[in-house]
Structures are given as C-alpha cells and as structure tokens.
Amino acid sequence: MTIARRSFVSGLLAAPFAPSLLHARTAPRVVILGGGFGGGTLARALKRAAPTLSVTLIERESVVYTCPFSNGVLGGMWALDRVGFSTDGLRADGIELIRSDAAAIEPERKTVVLADGSRISGDVLVLAPGIDFKWSAIEGMSPEAAELLPHAWKAGRQTQILRDQLTAMDDGGLVVVSIPAPPFRCPPGPYERISLIAHYLMHHKPASKILVLDAQDSFSKQPLFEEAWEALYPGMIERVPGSASGAVVAVDAATRRISTGFDDVTADVANVIPPQTAARILIDAGLDEGLGWCPVEPLGFESRLVKDVYILGDAALQGDMPKSGFSANVQAKACAASILARLEGRAVNPTKLINVCYSLAAPDYGFSVADVFIQGPEKVTLLQAEGRITALAAGAQAHAAEAAHAKSWYDTITSEIFG
C-alpha cells in the first residue's frame, strides 16, 4: 500500500495534468458533449471505472434514435421505437445529464456554452456531437428541402418521413437514393438502406424501381451487396457511379426533380444524403483546423490542437477507422483509459482496436467487414488489408448467422450505452 502510494504520487507529479488537479478541491470533472455512441459509451465507461469522478453529459434529445438499425425501419422490419432510447438511461451510475442544446465551445477553457447562455466547464472536455450536412454542396438542398427530400442520415423524425413516403408511394414508383462523396458517416450504410428498401418494395410494390445516384465509384462491401441484389432483387436496382456522372448537383424539392448535371430525373420518393462534415459547433470552435473533420492523436483521441480536449466518433479524423457506431464505442473506451491514466499521472500504452460493421441485405441475410487496427505513433492503422469481408457465395446459413449476430451486437451495445 505504501509503495503503491509513493509511486502513485511521483507519477502524479510528473504528469502534465498534475498542476490544475493539485489545486482542485474536489474530484476532477469531465464534461462530455453528445450522448450518442461515442459520448454515451465514454460517460458510462468513466463512471464505472472511477465512480467518484464527476461526469457531466450534455445531450439535446430526450430520446436518442440510433442510425444503426434505422434502415430496418425503412424496410418495414420494425417500427421506429425499436431504435429509440430514452436518455434517462444515461443518468445511470451517477452521470449528471444536462438535457440542453449546446450553442458554442470554448476549447481552451474546456467549456461548453449552452443555448440559454449558461456555461459548463470541466478539467477535461470530450466532444462527440457527430456530423452536420454541407447543404450548399447541392443546389436547392436545405434543412427545409430535407422535409420533402429526407436524408434520414440522422435517425428519428427524418427516418419516419422517409418511411411514410415509401408506404404512401404507388406500386411502380421510382425511388432515388443519392449518395455523397466520402467521407461520410457509415460507409456501407447507403447500400444497406438500398437493400432494405428493395426488400420492402419486392414484397409490397414489386413493379417499383430504385435509382442510385452515387458520387462514389466503388463502395464498401460492394461484391457482397451486388451478389445479394442479383439474388434477391433482380432488375430492381440501377446504380449510376461517380465516373458516369452519378453525383447529384441540384434538386428541386417541390417537384422532386433530381439533377446530376448530366441528366435529370423526377422521383416519387427521393432520399438525398448530402455531403457531410464534423458537427458545425466543432468547426466554429476551430477544432477542425479547416479540414472539415477534427484531427486527433491516436492513443486517446485527444485533439491535436487543444490539450485536455478529446474528440470521439464521426466528428474526428480517426486514421483508418471508419465512421461507425462500433468505432465510436471502441474509441470511447480507449479514451476513458487515457483520461484516467492522465489523471493518475501514468502513460497509457498503445493497443489494438476493432471495428465490425454488419449490413443486412434482407432480414435474414447479413454480412460484415471485420477489421483490427493498431494505435500507431501517427494514426490508428488497419492491420490486414485483404480478406476483410464475408466470403462471396457464403450460403444462406452463414448469412442468417451474420444477421443474427448483427441483432445480438446491436442489442448488447445499445443496452450498455442507454440501458
């Protein structure tokens, strides 16, 4: 015990964090913005490891709707409720939840300014507010236009609008899905969505078509999606890649006219997913260094610009890790370990991180990309470039097993964050 204390104290004095802490009278306070996959996981992980730490979480929503599994709502597999979680669960373990909209961040002061003008400051600030849209990248797109041409790329009301449009559409209708240039949240997400919309149409409106206007040439798990589309939805999906002028450049919300600059089409339902950036509140605070996404170091995801400010999830440039809920969850645990190590004045060693993204091509037809990363000196680096996805021609049993694992993953991760 004595030895432990002595080494502990000398470590503390050596720590860069020590001076502010030594003057503190109470437990250090960690302030977290965003109660989604990154922020929600972090708050729970910190409180579980260090119950006496003061953890404050700022989240605007009373119910968080997860993007993962929201494509199932569009496919008619379940209702929106299935992906909605009351943020009351985030109060678990003694987390202080502030249900409020953050208006600004003062990184140097580790402060979040709320919409009502009040200021929440900590010793450590963690930012996980997700993404925003670059509306101006598509002529005619705006938050108002998205009421008619829903993106459904932040789940909740937008998901329901798109679902209602699909159910209201007549058989034989044309659904246009517009996909932006990367990077965007969830690289395989648009293609899972196309699959599950096709699943719905095949069973309820089989004469309908899906036109995919894609700014990308190739995409995540492409051979697996194309194999599934051929088998399950032959002739229903047509995709125009970026090299064939697939990128949407203009829309007219009132008439649902969608233009690629090369061609125009009038949709019955149009799901226009705009290009994306880190949440604007981070860009306004200068934390993106003009890049549109926030640079972070690879060990604990601390901002490269401001000390004791950490940025998790979709908003950050996380090396080779994709913008997924799985990644945000894993990053949050590594971040918690880093924060606690710094409070203790101890260095943290690099480790290996994982991302698995399941996609459903139909309710019982799943496949995945499964990756391991190492926290390198410069960035988080993918370890194996080959053989990352489910094998082609895997067979019905393997696809059913992966679909079941996807549900198991989703229920475990959401109950641990929100339950």
């Binding site: 030895i3 109470t26 260090a50 480790t351 290996k352 992966e402």
Partner: protein, 104 residues
Amino acid sequence: MQPKSLHFQFLTMLAFAFFGQAGQVQAQDAGAQLAMACGSCHGLNGGGGETIPPLAGRDKSELLEQMRALKEPHEGVTIMPRILRAYDDDELKALAGHFARMEP
C-alpha cells in the same frame, strides 16, 4: 492541508478502481486493454449477447485453445477468423487470462 489530502484520497481511489493492486497493474493491463474492443459484441462484462458467446469466467486454457483454433476459417464460423488473425499468441494469452479472471 485539507483540500490537498481530500484530493489525494480521490486520486488514490481512482487508481485502485481502474488498475487494482499496483503490483498487478503491468500483468493485467495488456489483457484488459485488448479486451476493450471485444466488449462491443461480447459485452463490457464479457457476458455475451443473444447469439454471441460469453467470455467472462471461462477456463483460461480452454478459451486460449478455442481462440487459436478460431484463427482459421471453418464451417459455421463467421467473423472471428478475420479478427483473431491479427493477434499473436502472447496477446491471446493475455486476453484469455483477462476473461478467465472476470466474474461470469
């Protein structure tokens, strides 16, 4: 004196909460750190999910053997070979030791 000792007490508690006995810190650290990523599917406490098996409280050598075997793709196995191929035997041992120590 008062504020300083209060703070000292807090930090000591923090250290023990996260790292346990100081002497065990080094040995347990690698396994616990690697296991953070496993928890996203197998559960934070290693309890597993509906179709994803639990790991907590498993026999260490049995679990180690199973992980070694799962490095190779075979019938009925989905994602684990793609993950486990990235871990060397020392890492698998550290992971097996970590999960074996967890409460089932």
